[in-house]
Symmetry: C2
């Protein structure tokens, strides 16, 4: 077959995918709405830093840029919880040495575009707005932003990597029996800047993801290489006492921070300016089915499965799409009928599973992480993982530090909930779990039930 492909979107997923296609000898055309970030500066994208984890690294390594990215990625070994009183509690993400990595969205995107641009068989077309597809002959239409000139390109394979508001997907939506949903959270978010400490360096522990959990809302902060942190406040838009609708004046914003995040005030000197200047953005979950049109058009990344950011898996899931497809190109020797068929059949349930997990993790982050019983569960889970490494991997580790399909992890998580319902029902568990043989007995029983 003709090895020629067109990718819509040169964001994280589109440019990584373009590299993998080029590596396998495809002639690749990449069309992107924005201008070239290498010359125009990086704009857009919803958050300025992201958490890379195991699934994402595999794809970056496939594309040959893992080592370069590792040089500036900042490992975060766990969550650092800030109480209202300013007390800190650290909770590791996995086993010793395991971490998720804070990376800059702009830096990573530029690194991917640079990597892609090294291939002679790959060309970028920036400033090109996708107007839609003619599915009858796989022709795609663009408008050049600078001069409004329109062009049409025919390609045997078109990939929609154009994000949550995908124009490629909009064309597929007109097909009969195309299932689609976009669901917004009733929460918005606002980014706030935590500058480096006076004299340089990070003002708070740089090797942790900081969380200020406050029940129905929260703030988080991720480290940047320049010593700063990016803080993000997640808060209901309206309908509650604590909501963006009640934070219009400087006085209201300041009173809110004084009440709920007093220890953060010295860290965010430009709080009021940031609060006024930065947008309050919305958070959506997007699901659709199918992800393909025949063996000719395929959606990947956010265009197929945009999720809320609370499991740190949005980018990782999109990158995993790429590495799975790369494996399939190998296995099926570029038979795209087989590849799109299997990807569509097997991967959608994983996209749905990580969407569900991400929504649930919001409750965990904003509420449960401050719950003593939840922390106890984490401790016991770590003990079980340590003692029975082949038989117990906590859900968080399955999602973050493994390549287990998300849908399997979701099922496994339900079984683990059942286990911990039994364990946490042990009388006086809080004080004697280390000494009591009950935990291990219940675990072995649970394990035997699952094996039979």
């Amino acid at each position: 077959m003709e090895k020629r492909a067109l990718v819509v979107g040169a964001g994280l997923v589109g440019s990584l995918w373009a590299v993998l296609l080029a590596q396998r000898g495809y002639e690749v055309e990449v069309y992107e709405l924005r201008q070239d970030p290498r010359s125009a500066g990086f704009t857009g994208g919803r958050s300025i830093n992201l958490a890379l984890s195991t699934r994402g690294w595999r794809a970056l390594d496939k594309a040959g840029i893992g080592p370069g990215i590792r040089e500036t990625a900042i490992p975060m070994y766990g969550r650092m919880m800030h109480s209202v009183e300013g007390e800190l509690t650290f909770q590791p993400y996995g086993r010793e040495g395991q971490a998720i990595f804070s990376v800059s969205r702009g830096g990573l995107n530029i690194a991917l575009i640079e990597a892609a641009d090294r291939y002679e068989n790959l060309r970028f077309h920036f400033g090109q707005k996708c107007l839609g597809l003619d599915l009858a002959d796989n022709t795609i239409h663009f408008e050049q932003l600078e001069d409004g000139r329109r062009s049409s390109v025919q390609s045997p394979l078109i990939f929609g990597a154009d994000g949550a508001f995908s124009a490629v997907r909009r064309s597929l939506m007109k097909l009969p029996r195309f299932n689609f949903s976009q669901e917004y959270l009733e929460y918005g978010y606002k980014e706030l800047h935590i500058p480096p400490a006076p004299g340089g360096g990070h003002a708070i522990d740089k090797n942790a993801l900081h969380i200020w959990p406050r029940g129905h809302f929260m703030m988080i902060a991720l480290p940047n290489v320049d010593g700063s942190f990016t803080g993000t406040l997640f808060l209901p838009f309206e309908g509650r006492k604590d909501a963006f609708e009640h934070l219009h004046s400087d006085e209201q914003a300041m009173a809110f921070f004084r009440q709920h995040f007093p220890d953060s005030l010295p860290l965010i000197p430009e709080l009021l300016q940031d609060f006024r200047a930065n947008p309050t953005s919305a958070l959506a979950t997007i699901r659709c089915n199918p992800w393909c049109y025949q063996d000719k058009v395929l959606l990947i990344g956010d265009s197929a499965h945009a999720i809320v950011p609370f499991y740190g898996q949005g980018m990782n899931a999109g990158f995993e799409d790429c590495s799975i497809l790369d494996d399939m190109m190998e296995a099926y020797q570029d038979d795209w009928t087989a590849i799109t068929g299997e990807f569509n059949r097997e991967r959608i349930k994983d996209g749905n599973a990580i969407a569900t997990l991400a929504l649930r993790n919001f409750v965990e982050m904003r509420d449960l992480v401050a719950d003593p019983l939840f922390l106890l569960r984490k401790e016991i889970a770590a003990h079980l993982q340590e003692k029975y490494p082949g038989d117990f991997l906590p859900l968080y580790s399955q999602v973050t530090f493994s390549h287990i399909p998300y849908s399997e992890a979701l099922r496994e998580g339900a079984a683990q909930d059942e286990l911990f319902n039994r364990i946490l029902a042990i009388p006086d568990i809080r004080h004697n779990w280390k000494k009591s043989p009950e935990v291990d007995r219940i675990f072995m029983q649970w394990l035997n039930e699952r094996r039979s």
Copy 2:
């Protein structure tokens, strides 16, 4: 305020709603994609007959056309089940004399348009394709199908009654935080014509909705005034032994009907012609939230809540939107900020509830109606309704023969499931329920629990 409104869509809901607006003195402009069905003949719409029930009648009576429609509507007092062997079982829908009414979509639509056209303050514009809205100034754009001429109309109130694939809704979808989903059933449907009996009259009992339940698929038939019935086959598109994908040749179709619906063969003389000529259509559930843009644009009927047809409530729910809004115009004296606010706050959950009920009723119709335990439950429910009329109204009656909000009926249905789980667990219930005091005892206990 200025009493001026624009309605997009002159289908069942749009033309009924236009009448109610005109009655209250609004200057009403109605724009419709299709040509005037009074001159061009009725085209489109997915099924040619529909089941009118209590909610729908109320709105038709408000619009003053109830009596006229009653003259030709055919009462269906219950379900007539056809077994593979051709045995018939009748199951009443409600109390004696209660019925749902088979009406012709085209006839009803034309009657509504004629009723609307009697108002001097109401104008129809046919053959006008809605291109979208400018929400900034509530301007809506149309293209005249005949000559491609475009026009723009500004209106303080715009109603989207333009159906499941609403162009008005498409404009709202671009708003931030607009939730939307379209979900297709894995089933398609095909209409088949059952002509009048030789010599005129209906070939099978005209006062019933006929069902051929076959587990994972079914056929139904509704009577028409000319003595014919419209049959509809609901069958999976693919992926099962019995599926449209396996019915390509005449031989396959005929063998399928011989095996599953032998008693229908003499009724459908043109079976093979119908099967080839009639489309296999898809069935979608559409949900969105909000249904309005400020107090300026409001979605009603299928554009807000398209549902599958299995509860016979699609049209009735759309008509109920109209009568609820009409009540509100009265109560709030045309304060559209109050009306759109409350409608959006209160009615969406009812739209979601009837969507859920309709999906569930498919299982009931195609599978459970042939289940002896399900029939027993229906009998006991009828007994309870008879004996405790103030305390027990079966779910089906709440939906079909009452104005109880759908969301309340859905909740009530869950409680009734719980009741019947207990009743049907009585040993040997099948044979002795009429004599045993247990049924009444359990019912009273259930009632007391709910009251406390």
